[in-house]
Each structure stands twice: as structure tokens, then as C-alpha cells.
């Protein structure tokens, strides 16, 4: 087994890591790069807790090899806030209690941000379909949908 050296762009900054060929991007982010925002829920692409953005598309980091990140643009929940200033979605999730245990939250934030970049004014139904791959076992989803709508309105007004 030969380790692979990977150069990538992570939240806008150049990053390098070494990983095993079969190592997932999720494990590389968490264990090699110290970014523990993306969570492992199911490990099979069903729950969305490991959602990150890769070249502008949402992916389950558990279904991407670390080696595939070579020359890619990776964005994670850690890149959402600018310094101490939270992203409007993060603020809305806090203000409107759109989380309880928080395990699903980083993935939902990354997925919702990608949605609002494509569609700044989605319907509730569009948000629900977009987030169908992000499971939350606490909130019952209503507060999540509401927080995304509030953040979207905030971002449209900004």
C-alpha cells in the first residue's frame, strides 16, 4: 500500500495531505486536516452528515476518495463563517433553533448554502427536496426549513 500525496484547495486556501489509496475524503478531512465539521453518520451516502462541496457540487465526503481531491476545490462548513462573522444560515439556525444534537447540522448548512447560491428564493418544497439526502432525527425538519427561508430572505435583502 502506497500513500498518496494530495494537493487541493480547501475553503479557498491551498492544502496538502497524505492519505492511503482507499481513504475517504471524509477521513482525510477529519483525521489528516483537522476539520471535524463534516460528520460520519452512515458511511454509505444515505444521511448527508458528511456533506461537503467539491468543485461546486454537493457530495458525500464518505463516498469520495481523498485522492480524488487532487486539484479540486473543496468547501466545508469550516469555510462558511468569515472570521467571527457567522454565515446568515448559521446565524438563522442558531436564532431559530434549527438544530438539537447538531450532528446533521454541518452537512445541512453546506447543502443549504449550495442551494441558495443556485436558487436565492426557493419554495419550502424545493428546500425539502434539496435536503432529502440530509437526515435529521431531532428537529422534525420544520425549523430547518424555516431557518433556511429566513436566511434566504436575509441574503436577498443584503
Amino acid at each position: 500500500m502506497k500513500n498518496i500525496h494530495v494537493s487541493t484547495t480547501l475553503n479557498g486556501d491551498e492544502a496538502e495531505f497524505v492519505c492511503a489509496p482507499e481513504e475517504t475524503l471524509l477521513d482525510a478531512l477529519r483525521n489528516r486536516l483537522g476539520l471535524s465539521g463534516a460528520k460520519e453518520g452512515c458511511g454509505t451516502g444515505d444521511c448527508g452528515a458528511c456533506t461537503v462541496e467539491m468543485d461546486g457540487r454537493l457530495v458525500c465526503a464518505c463516498l469520495v476518495l481523498g485522492a480524488e481531491a487532487q486539484d479540486a476545490q473543496i468547501k466545508t462548513v469550516e469555510g462558511m463563517a468569515i472570521g467571527e462573522a457567522l454565515h446568515p444560515l448559521q446565524q438563522a439556525f442558531i436564532d431559530h433553533a434549527a438544530l438539537q444534537c447538531g450532528i446533521c447540522t454541518p452537512g445541512i448548512l453546506v447543502a443549504a448554502k449550495n442551494l441558495l447560491e443556485r436558487n436565492p428564493d426557493p419554495t419550502d418544497t424545493e428546500i425539502r427536496y434539496w435536503l432529502a439526502g440530509n437526515l435529521c432525527r431531532c428537529t422534525g425538519y420544520d425549523k430547518i426549513i424555516k431557518a433556511v427561508q429566513i436566511a434566504a430572505a436575509d441574503m436577498r435583502g443584503a
Binding site: 448527508g48 454537493l58 476518495l65 439526502g133
Partner: protein, 292 residues
């Protein structure tokens, strides 16, 4: 395990041929990585085909479209040309998995898994799609309906892999549709499915048709009798009844917790009927240039 990223199709097929049985193709990875984790596959080598030129492209060809093997479902849905020409194929691809899966999953991968319930496959078969296979002796083409030989089994031989799917040209007054039944609204595997592709004559009758059914047998099947049942018609009630009968006759499903034999058979006929009507409406719209 080794990770390889060949830069040509010939190199990829050479690696596959030299490591027969031990090497697995990585395209979108949405199935491969699940198998790796579950230990149901333990390849000695992973061959990432995404660095082969053209494999991530959608390219016009002979009036149709060549869809590279690494083109994701989401990318298909974003492509106006594919959506306009083959809306049924795009709606089938877009049903695969969640937004996150859509960012990576591919039609070629969906086909190569050889699953009877693969959403994009009935739509591809109805479309008359052709898989381009690269191998040690160069490229060859295989009609999608002949590609899968049984559950999980395909025509791919030593050193071969699918590099693209070709969706043929189509005239005005032609369109397609795909429908599936699942017991929820999202994120599930088809219990039964149907893809229908039709072309209209100038008088509005059906000139030619292709009907394919998924999840009602060991492999997705093309049902010529179902197509014959509606050719020449405007989908009047007797033609629809004949279509449904032909579809039901072609079903040979399993009986499991997700659906009984009777249920799958009945639903396949209903889906074919509805998909035929949707394809008809779309074909009428694009015959008059009245694009909805």
C-alpha cells in the same frame, strides 16, 4: 490497494486487462465506495477514469448527444440540450439518490451495476441509447438493452469499460418519459418503472415507439409488443389497454417486502400508460414548437 488515474482510455483498459478481477472502475464512486466500506468488494486496484479526456463532457454528435461516463446526474439536469432532446432520460437520472448523490452518480455507472431497478436504464433503453465500450482491441458499441445479461452481469469483457453513452438524434414531434413507483416521495429504489419514447407522424398518430420496463424481472427489458400496441394510434383507450396488457405480459418480477408479483405487474402497466401519455404530450409540444 492502489489508486490509478490513467490519462487515456487505452491506458485504462490496459490496467484493467492486466489486473483482471482485482481492478475496479471509479467514476462517481457512489456504489463503489459503499462496497469498499461494506467489504463486499476488496479490489487490489482502483482505476479512476475521470482523467481520460472527454469523459466528463456532453458532446453533440450526429445530431444526438454523447454523454461521457463521468457526467453526473446533476450535470445532465443542468444541460438544456439534453433536457430538451431527451427529457425522459434526464428525469430518470435525476431520480437517482439525493442531491449529494446527484453530484457524483453517472448513467454509465448505473448501467454497469447491472441492477434491474436502475432508474436511468429503462429510459436509456427506450431512447435507443448505445454504450461505447473501450477495450484492449479499441472501441465497440453495444445497444443498452443488450448490455446487461443478468443481475449484476454485463457484456463487459477483460479490460473493457464504458466510456460514454450515446443518445441518438431525434426529429421534431418526438419525446420520452420515465416513471417509477416508490412507496415514498424521494430517495428510494424503484418497485416498478417504465420508460416510453415515441415519435409522431404529422397527423398526430404514433409513428414509432419504444417501451422499457424496470424492476419487474432479472434485468430491464425492452417490450416490443407494448410499442406495437400503440404504433399507429393516438393513445386511444383500446391502444392504451393493449399497451398495458403487453407490459403486464412482459413482467416476471420477484415477490418481496417491497412489492408482490401482482402489485409490481399491475403498477408496471399503469406506469407505462402514464409515461406514454406524458411522452405523447411532450412530443405534441415539441412538434408545434410549443415548448412548455
Amino acid at each position: 490497494m492502489e489508486y490509478m488515474k490513467p490519462s487515456t482510455a487505452a491506458e485504462a483498459s490496459d490496467i484493467l486487462a492486466r489486473n483482471e478481477g482485482a481492478a475496479r472502475i471509479l467514476g462517481g464512486g457512489t456504489d463503489l465506495l459503499v462496497h469498499l466500506r461494506a467489504g463486499t468488494m476488496e479490489p487490489g486496484m482502483i482505476v479512476d477514469i475521470k482523467h481520460i479526456p472527454g469523459i466528463s463532457d456532453i458532446t453533440p454528435e450526429d445530431g444526438g448527444l454523447r454523454i461521457g461516463a463521468a457526467v453526473s446526474g446533476q450535470r445532465m439536469g443542468e444541460h438544456e440540450g439534453v433536457k430538451q432532446m431527451w427529457p425522459g432520460v434526464v428525469e430518470a437520472c435525476e431520480l437517482i439518490g439525493s442531491t449529494q448523490i446527484q453530484g457524483r452518480c453517472t448513467m454509465a455507472g448505473n448501467l454497469c451495476n447491472g441492477g434491474p431497478a436502475a432508474d436511468s436504464v429503462p429510459a436509456m433503453i427506450a431512447a435507443g441509447a448505445v454504450a461505447r465500450i473501450e477495450g484492449p482491441d479499441g472501441a465497440r458499441d453495444c445497444a443498452v438493452e443488450e448490455f446487461v445479461t443478468g443481475p449484476g452481469k454485463t457484456v463487459l469483457g477483460k479490460g473493457e469499460f464504458v466510456s460514454s453513452i450515446f443518445l441518438p438524434a431525434r426529429p421534431k414531434g418526438a419525446s420520452d418519459s420515465y416513471m417509477r413507483f416508490i412507496p415514498r416521495t424521494e430517495m428510494d429504489i424503484a418497485v416498478a418503472s417504465a420508460g416510453v419514447n415515441i415519435e409522431l407522424n404529422s397527423d398526430g398518430t404514433i409513428k414509432s415507439a419504444r417501451v422499457a420496463l424496470g424492476a419487474v424481472g432479472p434485468r430491464v427489458v425492452l417490450v416490443p409488443d407494448a410499442a406495437d400496441a400503440i404504433i399507429g394510434s393516438k393513445l386511444e383507450d383500446p391502444a392504451i389497454a393493449a399497451l398495458v396488457r403487453a407490459c403486464e405480459a412482459a413482467c416476471n418480477p420477484i415477490d418481496d417486502k417491497r412489492g408482490t408479483v401482482e402489485f409490481r405487474t399491475t403498477v408496471a402497466g399503469v406506469l407505462a400508460k402514464r409515461a406514454a401519455r406524458t411522452a405523447m404530450t411532450r412530443a405534441q409540444e415539441n412538434a408545434t414548437g410549443d415548448k412548455s
